[in-house]
Point group: C2
Chain length 460, copies 2
């Protein structure tokens, strides 16, 4: 069996078009700090009419292949996680096939995985399992998470975002799975869903969704700790991993989530809880589970206890989610990319725990191990290739009026046909794919912004 | 690594409501034989307002668990393949979770896989890979294929159908994968897709889709034969497998497809082609690939050559697809179930080749091996449990006027909210789940027809 299977390489793409949360806050007439402190968000990326989940994933995939020097023929599996539906039958994966077809490679397994923000994690697990299975043919797997999160005008709108992430999967990876340290919690709930098929916007019960997230987190953490105890013969606490990375709809929930792990450690008398922390949390030891999700005092106390741990173990993974917003399936991996960006080669030898959550609901907590790896598949090269600082720096901030206008146009265009876009790719980086047309049969056409002058059509 | 991983058990469910193709043909004013001989179809099942892809999958899953005596706690992975979208974010898998939640089992990986009719195959491969991977925890996998195929009034309508299939996955299976004998063909085409999000009906280019199917079949077969040659050191021909099972949108395409394999055998001078066959096919040896898909004469000649092989190697798998219609993701596995039904324990020691096709497109040809297995996971018990004859016999044939009326109601209801159904489950077998209500928040409610008297609500 292939050993140390995991992530060999990554590429991150988010639109260069964004709006500052502070600006949106003022425009919306929200109280000062509601989006920036209340949600904990700094900025939000969004697709203009020339970008969508297909173009973003094309950009991420071609960029990964080029920058790591991977021949498209070396890909044996390609899977996409997304909850942004542009077609209810044809997978996003098939839209990516021209990249491989032109090299004569059509023997590529995998389709799309779907359950809200969890689809990317399902795709990642599937790809890793394939490499470990008897049907593996020795080639690489490729996982793509791509989503555009948009909300109707109202309180949920500042929790949007957009991005695509591509990950190359194979053995002897610098980021490998500790495959026995994995716990899931799956249940039937209606916290966030998309039953209005004609609309891009979800139906959301924000309060329920937050409680579901925290309940799923508790369930996964308990089961994870049990499995760790059985495997390692000792109790797990947050001290046993250097980093924790969370699916991030908005940063405030990440803060609450990590604090919740400390509360779990307190309840199980784990080693991370010192005397001072014990004293702070004791008043809450008799709360029922349900009460504990509602108690503001508990939230405050746990966040105080968690703060020093948070700054070290969580904060390095919050950069892109705070700057780009909720990227649905890509959110967890954008957080993970932030950690690689901030800590890169210092991560070698360390463990990171990830928590993936998709409404509806599906959740998994799992563990990864870092080692420096070999160029081009090294931690430091991954950070170099992703070039996060430069991508964040070179964005264009839009005024709120323009943002609202674009949202209106996108709302109108969703599910539509028979239109051409402005084809204006002036704000896009060279090498970015963009939407040019949706014809009368709903067929979508894309072009690629050339690295030199001119435009390269992508041939379909 | 787990050995002989594959299908341990199966259950098939299709609605007991159907229409004879001969009757529909007359009602539609189509020429006599257009549906029955032209398409090769006998009968078509359809969901009435009390059934949908969720209720059908609940029925198939609970029935499988009960009839094979599998404790819901023994399931460690559950994956659904479907292209019938009732929600664009919340997976069908989450709707199945209450079956497991009530036993305290929420640690079940897997979500939905989507690409037209191929999603079930992707789910099956994912589940098998999981059992073979280092993250396997010793429990069973469960794969569900569920779809309702409906078309707008017009020539495609008789190619509808509906069914759900559940398959239990684990090691030492009576139906195991020959995992190195597998070849895929994936490409970006618009042969059949569902871009009109508000409508349940697809956009279809029937002629293109048939050509895409046959091209993908050729590509997979060539690659499959190459892999076989490398592995076994000898040339593959249709003689090297006892049975061939095809994704079946309508039976006529299955006939054409198998004949196409014989044409491939002829072009590669494989051992299945005798002198008489060689003579019949020689006039076509210089056709270009493109010409070969269009030539009626070739089609006729290959079908003549294929006929004796077809009767033995393919015909036993055509029962349910001809009687129930196109079941999208479930079609291939309903064909496979027909083979088990017709041949059950005589299959031990034999090989079957399956061809899965999903528009857009994704296609894979793969090989399975049979052995009798041990009760309850034996070929003969699978045939007994599925009870295909009885299920086909006890159906209710609807007159065309009633069928059209139901299609109109379903068209109106698709994507809708705030309605209750008739809750009339009189035609359903005991143990069948059915839809009772979709509330003002689009939440769906189901009940289960009791085995004795009365109705058991399923608790959500």
């Amino acid at each position: 069996m292939a050993k140390n299977v995991g992530i060999l390489a990554m590429e991150v793409y988010f639109p260069p078009t964004c709006i500052q949360q502070e600006v949106l806050e003022a425009h919306d007439g929200a109280s000062k700090g509601k989006y920036t402190i209340g949600l904990g968000q700094d900025c939000m990326a969004f697709c203009t009419e020339v970008e969508d989940v297909i173009s973003m994933s094309m950009t991420a995939v071609t960029s990964l292949l080029e920058k790591y020097g991977v021949d498209p023929k070396e890909i044996g599996r390609l899977e996409v996680g997304s909850e942004t539906v542009l077609d209810k039958s044809k997978s996003i994966k098939t839209f990516l096939m021209p990249i491989f077809e032109k090299c004569g490679n059509t023997d590529i397994e995998g389709v799309d995985s779907t359950n809200a923000c969890y689809g990317g994690t399902a795709a990642l697990f599937n790809c890793v399992n394939w490499v470990e299975s008897s049907s593996w043919d020795g080639r690489y797997g490729l996982v793509v998470c791509t989503d555009s999160a948009v909300y109707a005008e109202g309180p949920a709108r500042p929790t949007g975002g957009a991005a695509a992430i591509a990950m190359l999967i194979g053995p002897n990876a610098p980021i490998s799975f500790e495959s026995k340290l994995r716990a899931s919690h799956m249940a039937h709930v209606y916290d966030f869903y998309k039953p209005d098929l004609a609309s891009e916007y979800p139906v959301v019960d924000g309060k329920l969704s937050q409680t579901c997230y925290l309940m799923a987190l508790d369930s996964c953490y308990k089961s994870f700790c049990d499995k760790y105890q059985k495997l390692e013969g000792k109790q797990f606490s947050v001290n046993d991993a250097e980093y924790f990375v969370f699916h991030s709809p908005y940063n405030k929930l990440v803060q609450k989530s990590f604090a919740r792990l400390l509360f779990n450690d307190f309840l199980s008398s784990a080693s991370s809880i010192d005397e001072a922390a014990k004293e702070k949390l004791s008043p809450f030891s008799s709360l029922t589970n349900e009460e504990s999700y509602q108690s503001r005092d508990l939230e405050k106390a746990t966040q105080q206890v968690a703060k020093p741990f948070y700054d070290v173990k969580v904060q390095p993974s919050t950069l892109i989610p705070k700057q780009v917003g909720n990227m649905y399936t890509a959110s967890l991996y954008a957080a993970f990319a932030s950690l690689l960006h901030n800590k890169n080669s210092t991560l070698a030898g360390q463990r990171v725990i990830l928590f993936s959550y998709g409404s509806g609901l599906s959740a998994t907590m799992f563990s990864l191990r870092f080692n420096e790896g070999k160029h081009p598949f090294s931690l430091s090269n991954i950070a170099t290739v992703m070039n996060v600082s430069e991508k964040l720096k070179s964005r264009n901030e839009f005024p709120p009026e323009k943002f609202v206008e674009i949202m209106k146009l996108m709302e109108h265009r969703y599910g539509g046909k028979d239109f051409v876009t402005s084809k204006d790719c002036s704000l896009l980086a060279p090498g970015t794919y963009y939407l040019t047309e949706v014809d009368s049969k709903y067929r979508r056409f894309y072009a690629k912004k050339a690295v030199e002058n001119g435009v390269v059509a992508n041939g379909h």
